[in-house]
């Protein structure tokens, strides 16, 4: 199913698949983020640098990954 078929399905009142795709993509993004934050810390990045790279605050990254 291509994107226009998918959007048409969402408009017909069947948004379940599109919504679920959002969940799966978030999970992929979370796993990608986690891997790379851990790698960045190993390479000596500061929380500030990681936050800047992710476009979030230093506090947000530290709260999520800090020990």
């Amino acid at each position: 199913m291509d994107l226009s078929t998918q959007l048409a399905a969402a408009e017909r009142g069947d948004p379940a698949e599109g919504l679920h795709a959002v969940v799966v993509l978030r999970r992929i993004a979370d796993r990608l983020e986690r891997r790379n934050v851990i790698a960045a810390r190993r390479h000596g990045w500061t929380w500030q640098q990681i936050g800047d790279a992710l476009g979030v605050s230093r506090q947000a990254v530290h709260k999520k990954y800090g020990r």
Binding site: L3, Q6, A16, A21, V23, I28, R35, I38, K64
Partner: protein
């Protein structure tokens, strides 16, 4: 509300949280409760197994849903680096606890209702299963049951029959 839950029923709830964590889901949903049943030590698990339902089959069905959802928005699941899709980093534990979805909370309340209707004083795994069969058709659990060729209504009647024979 958990004081009337049997040990096995509590295991379903803690197992559901563990399943959500290991699948990296942001909420504990009805499908995690269903998965939690298979690790709860429930004595009547064979009722599900005679219908062809196993924990492994459920996990496969959930993974297929994920892939189908990606394909539906034009993403080839095979194009994503397997390392990223693979299970979470070992020994990494998230700090935040995972909230339950509204539907999962409704299932736990529904289990209480099922117990009352049957005149049972405790809330057991069987009542959670009955509540899981009463979900709307778009719910993940309903869809995953159907994908495993199990009609929720059939599961319900099979379990009720088995409960009557046991009492």
């Amino acid at each position: 509300m958990f004081e009337r839950f049997t040990n096995e029923a509590r295991q379903v709830v803690t197992g559901a949280v563990r399943e959500a964590e290991s699948r990296d889901d942001s909420r504990v949903g009805t499908e995690h409760l269903l998965l939690g049943i298979f690790d709860s030590g429930w004595a009547q698990l064979s009722v599900l197994e005679t219908l062809g339902l196993t924990g492994r089959l459920l996990v496969e069905a959930l993974d297929e849903f994920d892939e189908a959802a990606l394909a539906a928005v034009g993403i080839d699941p095979g194009s994503i680096e397997p390392e990223i899709l693979a299970s979470p980093i070992p020994n990494w534990r998230r700090r935040r606890h995972i909230p339950f979805t509204g539907a999962a909370k409704d299932v736990l309340k529904g289990a209480l209702k099922e117990a009352i209707e049957l005149g049972h004083r405790h809330i057991g795994v069987e009542h959670i299963v009955l509540a899981l069969t009463a979900l709307p058709s778009h719910d993940r659990t309903t869809r995953v049951l159907k994908a495993a060729n199990v009609e929720p209504t059939q599961l319900r009647s099979t379990l009720l029959t088995s409960l009557r024979q046991a009492s």
